[in-house]
């Protein structure tokens, strides 16, 4: 049934938001992290990660389905109670906050190195955060609609990039096919699972999706799009740049877009890709900012969480300024602190919630 716009988002907008929040990781420094572990088989890692998160995600979704009209944080509170709930939610807030800050720093470092060498990092940080704040302030509806508008353009430009890069591809570069060996591949995939963490964090907005039956479908659609996109781009990186050269390429996506051209005359198609990459990145951080504010607001139980956007923006800017340079930001902060710490949360939190829920008694009539 057609409803007037009621502050909720439809399935299309929801899928677009999730896709935007994750897929653009192929264009920042995430590939560098993964190629270090996965070598020539890095393109399999998204598939393996997808397999890993399937079960926890299903558990979480079934819990959300049982506790109707509750988002992730409200669910945590109602299952684990006031104190434990607060601790878990607060940890999630911190994860979201740090993740946003470090990813933002990643982005700014790329911008700084490639396009704005003379602009101070803090200026770039501020300008991007301000624009993300302006976008996030328009609310979830606007975020979803904008993503849905931009998604076809981003996908089309990605397909164009793949098509153009096909000429540079050398399929033999993917051998040895198992890279570092299967066991190593499975292990490092597990450790980097928080690349897909937004899928979990996004369940905060479960009550805001118009049709909760479609939430399942939406999640899997977006998972499908993300995994396909990641596998394709990692395949492209490895077959164009080869291993171990890929480790020396600081920014695979940007380098690839510089690499390709349409014939001799139009040699500068990167104009197009850059524009879309910028747009995508801004959307992505607007979503992160919004999610962080939402999680924090639910944690401390504030209704009007759009007021929190501004202070959180400030916190994100200051956090993003902590790493001294991009290597520190990526290798130490992102890899050692965040990724290695958070994978377990995304795997075990849903299981933990499910077990607690089970112990409390499923047939409990209190649950509505």
């Amino acid at each position: 049934m057609i409803k007037e716009s009621d502050g909720k988002i439809g399935i299309r907008e929801f899928v677009s938001i999730i896709v935007f929040s994750i897929i653009l990781k192929v264009a920042d420094m995430t590939p560098n992290l993964l190629f270090k572990e996965g070598m020539t088989a890095t393109w399999m890692m998204p598939l393996i990660m997808g397999g890993y998160i399937l079960l926890p995600l299903l558990i979480l979704l079934s819990l959300l389905n049982r506790y109707k009209s509750k988002g992730l944080i409200e669910l945590i509170y109602s299952i684990t109670g006031k104190y434990v709930g607060f601790i878990i939610s607060f940890v999630l807030t911190i994860i979201s906050l740090l993740g946003t800050a470090v990813n933002l720093r990643d982005q700014v470092d790329i911008l700084n190195t490639l396009f704005f060498p003379k602009t101070p990092i803090i200026v770039l940080l501020i300008i991007i955060t301000i624009s993300c704040y302006l976008i996030a302030k328009r609310g979830l509806e606007a975020l979803g609609r904008t993503c849905w508008l931009l998604l076809p353009i981003i996908i089309a430009s990605f397909i164009l990039l793949v098509a153009l890069a096909l000429g540079e591809v050398n399929l033999e570069y993917i051998y040895p096919i198992w890279g570092p060996g299967l066991s190593q591949l499975f292990k490092s995939s597990l450790l980097h699972i928080s690349i897909f963490g937004e899928l979990f964090l996004m369940t905060t907005f479960y009550p805001f999706v118009r049709d909760d039956k479609k939430y399942y479908r939406g999640t899997f659609y977006s998972l499908f799009i993300i995994i396909t996109g990641m596998v394709l781009s990692f395949l492209l990186y490895i077959t164009v740049f080869d291993y171990p050269t890929i480790q020396k390429v600081a920014f695979p996506f940007q380098s690839l877009s510089l690499y390709v051209s349409i014939g001799y005359f139009i040699a500068n198609v990167e104009n197009l890709f850059l524009l879309f990459w910028f747009i995508g990145a801004i959307m992505r951080f607007s979503i992160y900012l919004y999610v962080t504010a939402a999680i924090f607001a639910y944690t401390i139980k504030i209704e009007e969480f759009e007021l929190l956007l501004f202070p959180i923006s400030l916190v994100i800017i200051s956090l993003a300024l902590i790493p001294e340079n991009s290597i520190v930001a990526m290798r130490i902060f992102r890899e050692d602190y965040i990724l290695k710490f958070t994978w377990s949360i995304f795997i075990f939190l849903p299981v933990f919630l499910w077990v607690v829920d089970r112990l409390k008694g499923r047939a409990d009539d209190e649950i509505y």
Binding site: S5, G10, R138, A142, G144, R145, T146, W148, F278, I279
Partner: protein, 518 residues
């Protein structure tokens, strides 16, 4: 001190009195002389020479009456032939005849009815009607004798088409409504009349199709019209500004159109239309696509219509982005330009003393200047502007090394594109925004453009016109015929756009057909 207090008290009293008078209904008495005096007082007679009082003796009831009208507002021939003549001449000598009988038997005017307050008399006379007061009656009769002068129906000036109807609205509600009804012969097409403005009310016809337009929407629009607190609303262009939800926003949320055929098309989709004595109608609610599309897109065949739409989309993007992209490329991203092109640009800029942003602003502002001058200039000296403009912008400025030739190309292209944006409001919006885009490109190159673009898009996505999301049915998605950037063939447009919440969702049954050409 006391005097001040009493002064304010007086003001308050006066205010109260005037509002009292406005709200109170004054009934007509049965004495003609009393009524006449009150009316003379209202219309400042005999000072006001346009107000006419004509005493007549009504033969059919053997009583005295008075005919009142405003000179110039009524068709005096009509008054003579159809009101004065029959009243004076038809003998019936039946004193029991009432006003109703007078209307039914004597007066030969198509619209006539009884009224019983002075407020109504005032309103009717101001609207161009003739009012008859009969001695001994507590009711007056008004008769429709409107005779304003107005333009003939002419060709549209702002929304011209090559193929399709070439009529535009004129300065008469009657004519405008008839133009709409001519295009849309639907028994459910409803006209409701509301008046706006307190001291000189403006009658607005609200038109919609009863079984299509959403009742909530109609109610909301009527309420909005009712809530307008203005002394005078002169015409529909002012009304547009009273109705819109975001007075400071660059984005228009009401469509102002001069084409009856477009109005008919909108009515069929479930929109509501406001008409008055203005050479245009207002359509609400609207979406971005209403501003972007023209009537001709539909009248031309599928391929041609879509072709002109794509050209227009290109024009829109060029207007918005061309100067900004030029600034970004020359200031920040030289390496992204092909080397030959970069050399060509640098060579032409060698002698120019200004930075690119100054150059662009200089040219943009002079172009806007020519544009504005072109509209304001008296017709007789119009052609001069072209010559002066071409000389000033083109040859002289380049020869004097003030600007580089390449900027002339960019601005000319930009100007040309801006003329292809069909709607005046959208045109202004894009033209103002191009300055914002140029400036952000000057600050941060491509990043600046991307930021402006994304913020603009998210703003457009978030706003609503009377509860209808501005970019719907594209985003958020609603089932529709897909008539947004491009359109499907006419026979495939069997679904009404559901973002307007129509009661009846289908125009016709879905046509089962294939796309093959045989």
């Amino acid at each position: 001190m006391k005097s001040i207090v009493s002064f304010f008290k007086k003001i308050r009293d006066v205010n109260n009195k005037s509002t009292d008078r406005r709200n109170k209904k004054e009934l007509i008495s049965s004495k003609l002389a009393v009524n006449l005096n009150r009316i003379k007082e209202i219309f400042v007679y005999p000072k006001n020479q346009d107000f006419k009082i004509r005493k007549i003796s009504i033969k059919s009831i053997s009583r005295v009456g008075v005919i009142l009208y405003l000179n110039g507002m009524v068709d005096s021939k009509k008054v003579e032939e159809h009101i004065i003549n029959p009243l004076q001449e038809e003998p019936c000598n039946d004193e029991k005849l009432t006003n109703i009988d007078l209307i039914n038997k004597v007066i030969n005017v198509s619209i006539a009815d009884e009224i019983d307050t002075f407020q109504e008399i005032k309103k009717k006379i101001l609207d161009g009607r003739t009012v008859l007061l009969v001695d001994g009656s507590r009711k007056a009769i008004y008769m429709d004798t409107v005779g304003f002068s107005y333009r003939n129906v002419e060709k549209p000036t702002a929304e011209t088409v090559v193929k399709g109807p070439k009529e535009s609205f004129s300065e008469s509600t009657q004519v405008n409504r008839s133009l709409i009804r001519k295009q849309l012969r639907n028994e459910k097409l409803i006209t409701e009349i509301m008046s706006v403005g307190e001291s000189s009310p403006l009658d607005i016809s609200i038109m919609y199709i009863d079984d299509i337009a959403s009742p909530d929407l109609v109610k909301k629009i009527k309420k909005r019209v009712q809530d307008i607190k203005a002394d005078v609303v002169q015409n529909i262009a002012i009304l547009e500004q009273h109705l819109e939800e975001r007075p400071y926003s660059l984005v228009p949320t009401v469509l102002y159109t001069e084409r009856p055929d477009r109005v008919a098309a909108f009515l069929q989709e479930g929109h509501v239309v406001l008409v008055d004595n203005s050479p245009a109608a207002l359509v609400l609610p609207v979406t971005f696509w209403s501003f972007f599309q023209t009537a001709e897109d539909m009248y031309q065949r599928w391929a041609y219509g879509n072709f002109i739409r794509l050209i227009r989309l290109l024009a829109l993007l060029t207007t918005l982005l061309a100067p900004a992209a030029y600034i970004a490329m020359t200031n920040f991203h030289e390496n992204l330009l092909p080397t030959d092109l970069l050399l060509a640009i640098t060579a032409t800029r060698e002698n120019v003393p200004f930075p690119v942003i100054i150059e662009v602003l200089l040219m943009e502002i002079s172009f806007e200047l020519i544009r504005e001058a072109g509209i304001r200039i008296p017709n007789t000296i119009g052609p001069t502007i072209g010559i002066v403009g071409a000389l000033l912008i083109g040859q002289a400025a380049v020869d004097a090394n003030v600007i580089s030739p390449i900027i002339v190309i960019i601005i000319a292209l930009n100007g040309l594109s801006s003329f292809a944006i069909p709607n005046t409001s959208l045109n202004y919006m894009i033209r103002i925004m191009k300055f914002i885009f140029s400036f952000s490109a000057y600050l941060f190159g491509y990043l600046g453009i991307s930021i402006s673009l994304t913020v603009t898009l998210s703003y457009l996505a978030s706003i609503k016109s009377f509860d209808v999301p501005f970019l719907s049915p594209l985003s958020p998605y609603y089932p529709s015929s897909g008539d947004t950037i491009i359109r499907p063939p006419v026979w495939k447009q069997w679904l009404r756009p559901l973002n307007i919440y129509p009661q009846d969702k289908q125009r016709k049954e879905k046509v089962e057909g294939d796309d093959s050409n045989d």
